[in-house]
């Protein structure tokens, strides 16, 4: 009985380990990794260095979504948390600023609240970011300078809002993108990791 049990344990462990290794190799389409400054594309670093010296604390990340690679620099500046996204070549894509709901113009706040109230019976703001981007790809390199100069005239402003929300049919975390007037452009569900190991 004892030797049968030991054999069972050994083969079970072997089976699950092999299964796991195969699965880990099969699925790897979206990934974010912390990287060093030196691993960032040169042009992205040139842009960062234009506004902040090398002593400035900046966290760098590489994101992989399928075959698409992008880079992100995260830093704190003027009491706000900024996330600056670059494409694989190091060209600027957009700048996101972490804000409070009250930082949004009141009229847009009302439109956003109205829209969320239509969709959910209860909701709670978790994370709000103001996103600055440019209409034309050629103008993207100016986004960061415009944000720093507080010259928003040529920028597209959007709000990326994460809420914990529920109604009769659904419950969970959702990320929505609103235009600067508070109209919803898109919405997606945030799939959280299973809680089975901490619940």
């Amino acid at each position: 009985m004892k030797s049968n049990y030991l054999t069972f344990l050994f083969f079970s462990t072997l089976l699950f380990t092999s299964f796991a290794v195969v699965s880990a190799q099969d699925i790897k389409n979206e990934n974010e990794k912390s990287i060093n400054r030196e691993d960032m594309p040169t042009s992205s670093l040139t842009m960062i260095n234009r506004f902040w010296n090398k002593e400035k604390k900046v966290d760098f990340y590489r994101q992989k979504n399928g075959e698409m690679i992008s880079y992100e620099a995260k830093l704190e500046w003027n009491d706000y948390q900024y996330s600056i996204e670059f494409d694989s070549e190091g060209s600027l894509v957009n700048v996101e600023q972490l804000i409070d709901f009250n930082d949004i113009p009141v009229a847009s706040q009302n439109t956003i609240t109205e829209e969320l109230s239509k969709q959910y019976t209860r909701f709670r703001f978790i994370r709000i970011q103001r996103q600055y981007s440019a209409e034309e790809a050629d103008d993207r390199y100016e986004i960061l300078e415009d944000v720093i100069d507080e010259d928003y005239e040529d920028l597209i402003i959007r709000f990326e809002i994460v809420v914990d929300a529920q109604n009769k049919a659904v419950m969970g975390s959702f990320e929505s993108l609103f235009d600067e007037h508070g109209n919803m452009i898109q919405k997606r569900r945030i799939v959280r990791r299973s809680l089975d190991n901490i619940w």
Binding site: A24, K33, D164, M171
Partner: protein, 227 residues
């Protein structure tokens, strides 16, 4: 944060020789297989098979201390609050004549906070343990924290650390006692449906007992599957 991660990793390394060389304490290997699924955003289910193996008795019939099939469910009151219940059946020393059993019913509530992809969970659990020889209630509180080791988000193929501490009191009409369980573990997140955890737990048992505190070290190898 780097200091914290380093400290946690060192704890894992430090626990290993402690487990291996401790002459006083009991050493357990606890393999677990867990399968979870959801029938809606609110309602989730879990089944688990958990086995306690005494490392010191591996060469005799007392090797298996318990075999415990578990079933539990949870209902999401809000995205961060869950209520739940469950039933566990424990078969003790199945390879020794005169084995014992236990029926366990449990009720629990949990609160989860997210800081990015770092998670902090509080769980309060009440148990009724109906054993072949006695009855016991147990009140448990557990604090769990897990966080990715690479970057801010836990992506497939990456690893994470998990820290837990659980305090509990066991009581019936005749006696009461307390126990603490502190654990540190490392997890391999293969994808959203599978992960593996290697954990080390130190249990301080029978804290109020006249005969003294018991120490137990437990090495857990847990495989989690989700639908």
């Amino acid at each position: 944060m780097n200091f914290f991660k380093t400290w946690a990793l060192l704890s894992v390394i430090a626990f290993l020789p402690l487990c291996a060389f401790s002459q006083q304490a009991e050493l357990i290997w606890n393999p677990e297989l867990s399968y979870s699924w959801k029938s809606s955003d609110r309602l989730g289910f879990n089944t688990k098979l958990s086995i306690f193996n005494s490392v010191r008795d591996f060469d005799n019939n007392a090797a298996i201390q318990y075999i415990e099939p578990q079933f539990s469910f949870s209902y999401g009151v809000s995205p961060r609050t869950k209520l739940g219940g469950g039933y566990y059946y424990r078969l003790s020393t199945p390879m020794i004549d005169g084995y014992q059993y236990e029926h366990r019913f449990l009720q629990q509530i949990g609160f989860i906070s997210f800081i990015g992809d770092r998670r902090l969970a509080h769980r309060l659990r009440l148990e009724q343990r109906i054993r072949s020889s006695s009855y016991q209630n147990r009140l448990r509180y557990r604090l769990s924290y897990d966080f990715p080791l690479q970057g801010e988000e836990l992506d497939p193929g990456e690893t994470y650390l998990i820290l837990k501490d659980e305090m509990m009191t066991a009581f019936n009409k005749d006696e009461a006692d307390a126990e603490n369980r502190v654990s540190v573990g490392m997890g391999w997140y293969f994808n959203s449906k599978q992960k593996f955890e290697l954990g080390l737990q130190y249990r301080t048992q029978d804290i109020f007992s006249d005969s003294g505190i018991n120490h137990l070290f437990l090495i857990s190898t847990s495989y989690y599957l989700n639908r």
